[in-house]
């Protein structure tokens, strides 16, 4: 990539991330509502596990689930469906008329979305630790951070793949996102160990990066967590592989879908 193109990519990324990070901070009620929503979901599961008399590690895995779930929601609603919304708002035309590549907008959306979500997720984590006295080991904190970053890379890569499909399929894809939200939460084991799904389902669920990412984080941060899917090292490798595959597919899909969308007038006709 030439220096000029690299600068264009980075400036576009920065500008689009800016909207996510600083712009959305202006909607304080939305931030508060999303933190409280995550906190109450987490609370429900913790009380459920306590009522059932499960071990204390289950509270830990729920808090980690509460920490990671907003990221996947952001991937689905803030990245995958975003090009569709940009089209409805009239921004997509301007993005495409500009010399910046679509991938720069989407990486910007991802970086901005991840940073914005991080604040909400950290708030949920903080409340989980403070209110429910959940304990985590910090022995493997750097490794856990690495797993977290790789999981984000893989998740947002998947989001960019979806975004190109959503751009082409418009409203149908948006409804599909609505449809897959809850099943995805279930399959990725947000609030229970994914291994409970059984070998067949967990194999499918492993395609959702949150599944293995969460499982690895639980192994590294919750000392008594034993119901793992795979060893965290394998999970990390699979996540890296998934991330690279998603990045490759996303890069190809964006170019291909943009061409098809120009050919079939999908970029310019709204409400389809």
């Amino acid at each position: 990539m030439k220096k000029k193109q690299l600068l264009l990519f980075l400036r576009t990324l920065n500008a689009r991330a800016y909207v996510r990070i600083f712009g959305q901070m202006r909607e304080a009620t939305w931030v508060v509502a999303s933190v409280l929503g995550g906190f109450f979901t987490m609370t429900t599961y913790i009380y459920l596990y306590r009522t059932l008399g499960t071990g204390s590690e289950f509270s830990g895995l729920v808090v980690l689930g509460g920490f990671m779930t907003p990221f996947f929601m952001n991937v689905l609603w803030g990245v995958a469906t975003q090009l569709y919304w940009e089209k409805e708002m009239g921004n997509l035309e301007l993005m495409l008329v500009s010399p910046a590549p679509l991938s720069a907008f989407l990486v910007g959306l991802s970086v901005g979305g991840a940073m914005h979500t991080m604040l909400r997720s950290l708030a949920v984590l903080f409340f989980g630790i403070a209110v429910f006295k959940v304990k985590f080991t910090i022995l493997h904190l750097p490794l856990a951070f690495l797993v977290f970053l790789v999981t984000l890379f893989s998740m947002y890569g998947l989001g960019i793949v979806f975004s190109s499909l959503f751009l082409y399929h418009g409203r149908d894809a948006w409804r599909t996102a609505d449809l897959v939200m809850e099943p995805t939460n279930v399959l990725s084991g947000s609030y229970f160990p994914a291994r409970f799904l059984g070998v067949g389902l967990v194999g499918i669920a492993a395609l959702i990066p949150t599944t293995l990412g969460l499982d690895a984080l639980r192994q590294l941060l919750v000392p008594s967590f034993t119901v793992k899917v795979l060893d965290w090292r394998w999970e990390l490798l699979i996540l890296i592989g998934l991330g690279l595959v998603f990045a490759f597919i996303a890069s190809w899909a964006l170019r291909s879908v943009e061409y098809k969308a120009r050919r079939d007038a999908r970029l310019t006709l709204r409400w389809q």
């Binding site: 576009t12 009239g90 970029l267």
Partner: protein
């Protein structure tokens, strides 16, 4: 003059599920020179926006060729995009949560501009449109006119060579429209390589701004000429409205005989003063001198006189109407 845009035999067909293919463009050809404001006029669904979207690399042509600054919009779109800007009327682009300044900065980054350069241009253009004091206002609190001024600034900040203006004053009040037209006119004259493609429903706007206009309907170019030429082609006769202190039917007959065949005189009355009002349709502009002499010979004194100019709207309506009839008669495309 160098050519900025060349459109050759452009067609675009939209295939829609369950309906017959829609031919939005059926062999459109025109070119735009550097320094020119070129107007595309036509009724709704005529093909104006489709043409602009193809020139702006948003849509692929079904056949034909379009070059912008010498680059093919289909194959070399990556080289076209840094050189163009698109501004649409009624545009709600951007993000309401951003301030005017932030929004403009964001779009400048999509063109890879250095932030200090972008900020300097944003200030310059916001001052030009009279919105510098509103720079910290959130976008979702702006009026339609203010929003459209911001859109215009967004299009200019990146210093394009070609500016596509798709109904830029749609829904905008008179003051904002005047400002937008003035800026566009000044902008295109600042650098020799600049040009503007304008689509508009407002004929007066096209008449005021455009050096040439193409009238498009049903995906066909019906005419491509300077507005003055189109108006002249509409009717070569000179038209005058003359209010007199007195004139009766007998006097009018005598004057008509003096003026000769081809010069039509119609006597009516002024709606306000009820004075005799003569509508004169003369073969040649110079005939007005003979008419005034003839009127004086009849003892009729002039109270008021004005020349009636055909408008671009008259030309447009007549042309679009005539072509509709032609199409019905011949049922064959005309370009």
């Amino acid at each position: 003059m160098h050519t900025s845009i060349q459109v050759e035999n452009l067609t675009r067909v939209f295939n829609r599920r369950g309906t017959a293919p829609f031919h939005a463009l059926r062999g459109v050809s025109f070119d735009v020179s550097h320094g020119e404001i070129f107007g595309l006029l036509g009724p709704n669904g005529a093909g104006k926006t489709t043409t602009i979207k193809i020139m702006a690399t948003l849509l692929l042509p079904t056949s034909g060729r379009v070059t912008v600054a010498g680059f093919d919009v289909e194959r070399e779109y990556a080289r076209v995009r840094p050189l163009i800007s698109l501004i649409s009327g009624g545009e709600t682009s951007g993000y309401g949560i951003l301030t005017v300044e932030e929004q403009l900065w964001m779009f400048s980054q999509f063109y890879g501009m250095e932030t200090p350069v972008a900020r300097a241009r944003i200030e310059e253009y916001l001052r030009v449109v009279g919105m510098w004091d509103s720079r910290r206002q959130q976008m979702n609190r702006l009026s339609t006119g203010m929003r459209q001024k911001v859109n215009l600034v967004r299009g200019l900040v990146t210093d394009p060579n070609v500016l596509f203006l798709d109904e830029p004053t749609l829904g905008v009040d008179v003051e904002a429209s005047v400002v937008i037209r003035r800026i566009v006119r000044d902008w295109v004259q600042e650098k020799p390589e600049r040009s503007v493609i304008l689509t508009t429903h407002y004929m007066a706007e096209a008449d005021e701004l455009c050096s040439r206009v193409a009238i498009i309907n049903h995906g066909l170019i019906l005419a491509n000429a300077a507005p003055s030429q189109l108006k002249q082609d509409l009717d070569s006769r000179a038209h005058y409205e003359i209010t007199l202190d007195r004139l009766d039917g007998e006097q009018l007959d005598r004057i008509t005989a003096v003026m000769g065949e081809g010069n039509d005189l119609v006597l009516g009355a002024d709606k306000v003063t009820n004075s005799p009002m003569l509508m004169a349709h003369l073969m040649h502009e110079s005939d007005i001198a003979r008419l005034i002499t003839a009127l004086a010979a009849q003892g009729a004194a002039l109270e008021y006189m004005r020349k009636l100019e055909p408008t671009l709207e008259d030309a447009f309506l007549k042309m679009v109407g005539r072509r509709f009839e032609d199409e019905e008669e011949t049922a064959s495309p005309v370009s």
